[in-house]
């Protein structure tokens, strides 16, 4: 395989984070190598594929090709254990359920068109350190092994984060701070244009979801807290069995995975190194969504990398601008979401039913926007016994 001996940046992982970074860096004139160990970028999928409209328009203001979109979504419906539900619906598109096999490939193609070198079926196996500095990486492409030199190593490895951890980043996921998930893509399952979320003991510390993908397809999954010991496959099978509407639905694909719902990795840069996307645990802790955050971190880190390239300074001190810009932009929001997750995980079935029975769609929107106080006050008025659990949000 034709590879150069050195690159300005080597990006490990061609998911939403890595491909977005590679595009920005290549546009900035950098010689970039984007590699992924998968033989086909985008496949297999380990994702519910849902993303808010705001992310897509922020990162791709010109829009994304319709082939990347399974379905357009106009809201969400949340189910309590007692069957009560709460629906927020808009008259416009509020989100998408993507077709990530196509979307991820599209992002890699965009990176290639911007001038990045892309190579699938190529695994980064270890780092090269010289005189105390990371200067390159060992790669394996099929039966061939290579060494490449680079000024900048970018870990966009997703949850596995082996290279990031080898470099000393705190990207190890602990059981308490992950959800473990199983998901079926199901056909012949009519749905509205809403994402559905089911809370309570059907999914300990997590939730069950139905994300419609259009053409009567949907991702139907369950995630549970990593420490709960719950078996997501068994729970998913029983969720499907107990619900009449899945009677005719067929399983087209079995997916699964583990996702961080904890705190972002604090240190995201070192000399000649950056860690972006889910490898840095940049995931929303309340629902495990990380596609948008991955792309955003790719953009922010990419811009900083281009500046570093122009100044020929890939020191931690300079790359630090990525970490600072990230923290300023998303740090607070993610902290608030983590707080919410830690409250939600204490609720039992009755609590969920009481809360969902009490609040309105507007209240739910407030909670999603991070304005907890007035909603908590309203719930406490009717259910004062929840004070102990909910007080953290006041």
């Amino acid at each position: 395989m034709r590879l150069m001996e050195r690159y300005d940046a080597v990006v490990v992982g061609a998911g939403p984070a890595g491909s977005t970074f590679a595009k920005i860096a290549a546009e900035g004139g950098m010689e970039v190598l984007l590699l992924d160990k998968k033989k086909e970028i985008g496949s297999p999928v380990r994702c519910g594929e849902g993303i808010g409209d705001a992310w897509v328009s922020r990162v791709w203001p010109q829009g994304i090709p319709s082939a990347c979109i399974g379905a357009r979504i106009s809201g969400a419906i949340v189910f309590a254990p007692n069957g009560k539900s709460l629906c927020i619906r808009a008259s416009h598109t509020t989100g998408f359920v993507l077709e990530r096999k196509i979307f991820d490939k599209y992002l890699a193609v965009e990176a290639a068109k911007a001038g990045a070198h892309v190579l699938a079926r190529t695994m980064a196996t270890s780092l090269i350190k010289e005189d105390g500095r990371f200067t390159g990486m060992r790669l394996k492409h099929m039966e061939e092994e290579f060494e490449v030199k680079t000024d900048l190593i970018v870990s966009a490895e997703g949850m596995e984060a082996r290279i990031a951890r080898e470099a000393g980043f705190q990207s190890l996921a602990t059981l308490y701070d992950v959800d473990t998930c199983v998901e079926y893509e199901m056909a012949d399952l009519p749905c509205e244009d809403l994402i559905e979320l089911y809370f309570g003991s059907i999914a300990p510390r997590g939730y069950a979801w139905v994300f419609p993908k259009g053409n009567q397809l949907a991702n139907v999954g369950i995630g549970v807290g990593g420490l709960t010991g719950a078996n997501p496959k068994k729970l998913l099978d029983s969720f499907i069995e107990k619900n009449e509407r899945f009677r005719k639905a067929e399983v087209i694909e079995v997916k699964g995975g583990v996702i961080s719902v904890g705190e972002p990795v604090k240190e995201k840069v070192k000399d000649n190194l950056m860690v972006i996307g889910t490898a840095a645990h940049l995931v929303d802790p309340t629902h495990g969504g990380g596609i948008g955050l991955a792309m955003e971190s790719g953009i922010i880190a990419g811009r900083v990398a281009v500046k570093a390239f122009q100044k020929k300074d890939f020191s931690k001190k300079h790359l630090m601008h990525y970490e600072m810009a990230w923290d300023a932009r998303e740090g607070n929001k993610l902290e608030k979401r983590l707080l919410l997750r830690k409250v939600l995980e204490k609720l039992n079935d009755d609590d969920y039913s009481n809360i969902i029975g009490e609040i309105s769609a507007d209240d739910l929107q407030k909670v999603l926007d991070g304005n907890y106080k007035s909603v908590v006050a309203k719930v406490l008025l009717k259910h004062p016994s929840l004070l102990k659990v909910l007080s953290a949000l006041l």
């Binding site: 949850m159 473990t180 583990v258």
Partner: protein, 61 residues
């Protein structure tokens, strides 16, 4: 000397999601496409992978 088997994978259940890789504190596990490979020598039997595996395909012995 033959290696002691600590990490056992039921390949009938594994969907190679790599979840086990992400929680292994000693980087003993790698995912290569559809193969999960465990360096038995590195494994400390902490059982994080066994717990987190969504398909319950792993047994630590």
């Amino acid at each position: 000397m033959s290696e002691i088997e600590k990490f056992r994978l039921d390949e009938r259940k594994c969907i190679y999601c790599g979840g086990c890789v992400s929680v292994c504190p000693v980087l003993a596990i790698t995912l290569e496409e559809t193969r999960i490979i465990c360096d038995q020598k590195k494994c400390t039997r902490c059982r994080a992978c066994e717990k987190v595996c969504p398909l319950k395909a792993i047994t630590i012995i």
